[in-house]
Subunit: 506 residues, 2 copies
């Protein structure tokens, strides 16, 4: 039986042939991905309708699977490794990261304990340290690799919760008349994962204080200070402030140093979410955005965002290892191990099973070297700057936020709202425009642009205004892709104008 043969470890030559086939498929995919539309064009349920209701009883050769991968699956893929993927924050698979994943799966290591793969544990600690040095964080920070920033920030919140001395690990939060409400402070622009973390950790959405931001979408530190003081006065216990370097909507940078002053004065855990922007700290010229982060208790940086590492790879750095261990570590007998003095990575997070993600960073650094990664980051910054320049110079569009990193927020001026030639570009809230109409206009523009195929942009809403986002962060993206995005944007804009969109019946 074809299926059974694949199960046997002795079928080495058959495996080798299959591995070669898949390697060719992967190389072919990377060559042809640019010809495909970035954003999948299928309708909901389209793949489901093509899939059998039940698993096959008999297996088949890899060639059949690869053929159906092309035929059934690929049309429903939004291609995150397309050079025209300019939406959200990119996550791209560099050659080294991708090849490392193949090796990771071959080794199949679970690095829960040091002994269950010493190399996976030691490489993980060292790779986090290589990254720490590259981004200029001082000695004293160490860390681990988790799957995503959501998990990293949640893990940090659990450590902060325990660091209050309220014995939450032992006694929990519910049914304790001795406990005050617990709160976490983020800016209005912080990532939703912080709110999810607060829900999960039992703080509730009401425990999340969303501090207003200034006109650059940065946390208002005076408002933070007032809010913490007011909370403390009413007996509430602040347990964490999360400052963001590179928020998701606009990549704004909270004033971390001033926030650190507040945290120090108020004795509150400071977590820095640099999941997206963190790798930019490898560039001396971008280091100014990171002032003060070295005072954080914990920091998250995601190599799977802006460091060419395939999903998933989120690094959680911290200064007090014991705060993390004491919030979660538990060793049942069947996981006890008598190797003294080692780090057992299972103690630093909720999941017991841990993939050998460090190997991705090792392949990346070894094959590319730090200098090539800095070049990539500089290229992205330059391309975002160029795109922002085109937007700024074009009466049809306007910038919607500052551009500290590789992400540009902008919107189209709906016809009739463009500034007159020679006049000043409109402020972020131009008087006299109908925001609903402009929002609909931008939404339609984005939908049409994304339907074109070669590029995929995303959106956000800033001050109730629908805003387009172009984010350059993929290892594959070069100048021509950003240029193409601008060209198609202009074409779609002009097309909408020619059509007189919105039509009256809409």
């Amino acid at each position: 039986m074809a299926g059974a043969r694949h199960l046997s470890a002795s079928q080495d030559e058959e495996f080798r042939a299959a591995a070669r086939s898949v390697a060719e498929w992967v190389a072919n995919y990377r060559e042809r991905v640019e010809e495909m539309p970035v954003l999948a064009r299928v309708s909901p349920g389209e793949l489901s309708a093509l899939l059998p209701r039940s698993a096959p009883e008999r297996g088949g050769p890899i060639e059949d699977v690869l053929r159906d991968l092309d035929r059934l699956v690929l049309p429903g893929i939004t291609h995150w490794n397309h050079p025209g993927f300019l939406a959200y924050f990119s996550s791209s698979s560099s050659a080294p990261g991708l090849l490392a994943e193949f090796v990771i799966a071959a080794l199949g290591v679970n690095a829960m304990l040091w002994r269950t793969s010493p190399a996976a544990t030691e490489l993980e600690l060292r790779m986090v340290d290589w990254l720490r040095r590259l981004v200029g964080l001082p000695d004293g920070f160490e860390g681990v690799i988790l799957d995503t920033a959501s998990t990293s920030s949640f893990t940090a919140l659990l450590a902060a919760r325990e660091a209050t001395g309220l014995e939450v690990r032992e006694r929990g939060l519910a049914g304790r008349p001795d406990l005050p409400s617990l709160t976490v402070y983020v800016s209005e622009q912080a990532h939703s994962s912080l709110e999810k973390a607060a829900i999960a950790a039992g703080l509730g959405q009401r425990g999340v204080r969303k501090i207003p931001t200034d006109d650059g979408y940065r946390m208002d530190v005076e408002a933070l200070r007032r809010r913490i003081s007011a909370d403390v006065e009413t007996g509430i216990r602040p347990i964490m402030v999360c400052a963001t370097i590179g928020t998701t909507s606009t990549t704004s940078v909270d004033p971390v140093a001033t926030i650190a002053d507040v945290c120090e004065a108020m004795n509150v855990w400071l977590h820095v979410d640099a999941a997206y922007a963190g790798p930019a700290a490898m560039l001396p010229e971008a280091r100014r955005h990171f002032v003060g982060w070295e005072r954080a208790d914990s920091i998250v940086i995601n190599p799977h965002k802006w460091l060419a590492t395939p999903m998933d790879c989120s690094t959680l750095l911290f200064r007090d290892r014991d705060a993390f261990r004491s919030s979660l570590a538990l060793t049942p007998e069947y996981l006890s191990s008598d190797t003294p003095g080692v780090v057992n990575l299972m103690d630093y997070g909720l999941p017991l099973g841990r993939r050998f993600r460090a190997l991705k960073l090792w392949f990346l650094f070894r094959q590319l070297g730090a200098e090539a990664l800095r070049e990539m980051l500089r290229r992205h910054l330059r391309l975002a700057g160029e795109f922002a320049g085109w937007i700024r110079a074009d009466r049809r569009f306007e910038l919607a936020a500052p551009v500290p990193f590789g992400t540009v927020c902008f919107r189209a001026n709906a016809p009739g709202t463009e500034p007159k030639p020679g006049t000043k570009p409109p402020s972020t809230k131009p008087p006299g425009t109908d925001p609903a109409a402009t929002n609909a206009w931008n939404r339609e523009l984005l939908a049409r642009l994304n339907r074109r195929g070669p590029v995929f942009l995303s959106h956000t809403v800033l001050d109730d205004r629908y805003t387009l986002r172009l984010s350059v962060g993929s290892v594959h993206t070069g100048e021509r892709h950003v240029r193409k995005a601008y060209k198609l944007l202009c074409e779609e804009y002009d097309g909408l104008v020619r059509e007189g969109w919105p039509a009256l019946d809409r």
Copy 2:
């Protein structure tokens, strides 16, 4: 510069060559892994000492990386894909699962939203459904794929917490005089991840009720019922019972049907941890162990344990999708999407980023077929049964627990404690033996066995007695590996006897 070249998407031929090299490395690794010791022989810090303190500035060719992978990393790997890996619960990389991981990394999809890869979302839902049908769970169960059972059970606990109607999502747990203590019920033999989940969710370790087990290590349902009643009488709010089918120490099976009666009567969420044993429900002859699980509110089954799927792949099945959504789902504007009626997988868990894990199951089912997987499961059951038979027939050893699945718990009878020929084998607690001496004897035996190289077994402690565990669950393990384990075990036993271990000076 060598490094920079790798960053360019245009270097297609260079990538193809590198992919071929890695495919050969992987095929070679699988051929030679059996010659290596399963358990790494390095000392703590050995790899760390060989690694540079900082990342290299310049990159290098893949060949250098692969050479150092062999030279530096492999000696520190505990080989989870070695056919002699008989420790813990195995997690092994079948050919299809391994090849799928390569494709997953090439696509690099983040299936957070339906639109960010429709095929990844629809394939995930369908693969969970294929698995559901294979294990005989009724219509009405659906589910998602998460990383590990720890995460799956934690996610279920959050849903159960919210399903109480106590508005925990909105109002949190702390500082609420209206809230009682919340409790979760597990057997003494349940996995530590449930306790971690309770800590993380704010129930505290005190909120975890460890119900005693019977002489087969199964939850004592009468004790459960009494404990829940007593808690309710004192105003405590039970939120979840977790029954385990295949506990970690002995793979014992809690009486799920009776527990389901209790949960129904008491209106408590029933979660079933079948992370390890779940795939065995594909066998009609093993279905008896699963009676009652169809009445659960949530079930976790890990294909990355006993279904030949590389880490990580944990399926969380549930009956009330809304209970999960309402406990955690949050959609910030930058993730809003106007495709109506679709499932957005980010709503079913804490991590926003989600790898395309479903592809591993699709490759697995498509290449092998269900029948070959059943054959694998049957082979494992048969091998465990044979090993248990050898232990039972050998005066030097004794079984320590029933063997419902592929895992055998046993211990050596230290010299002087073996039963006389012709007498009944000792009960689990033979009178007149010194447990401390027997424990030390078994610990030493296991350490020596694992130092031999060809096999790796783990241990647990049952009723204060150190117990050896041999778990057959790897796609690579065949009869000769289990036979080898027994042979080496006998050799080491006899060696210890010859030595007169323990020596007097110990």
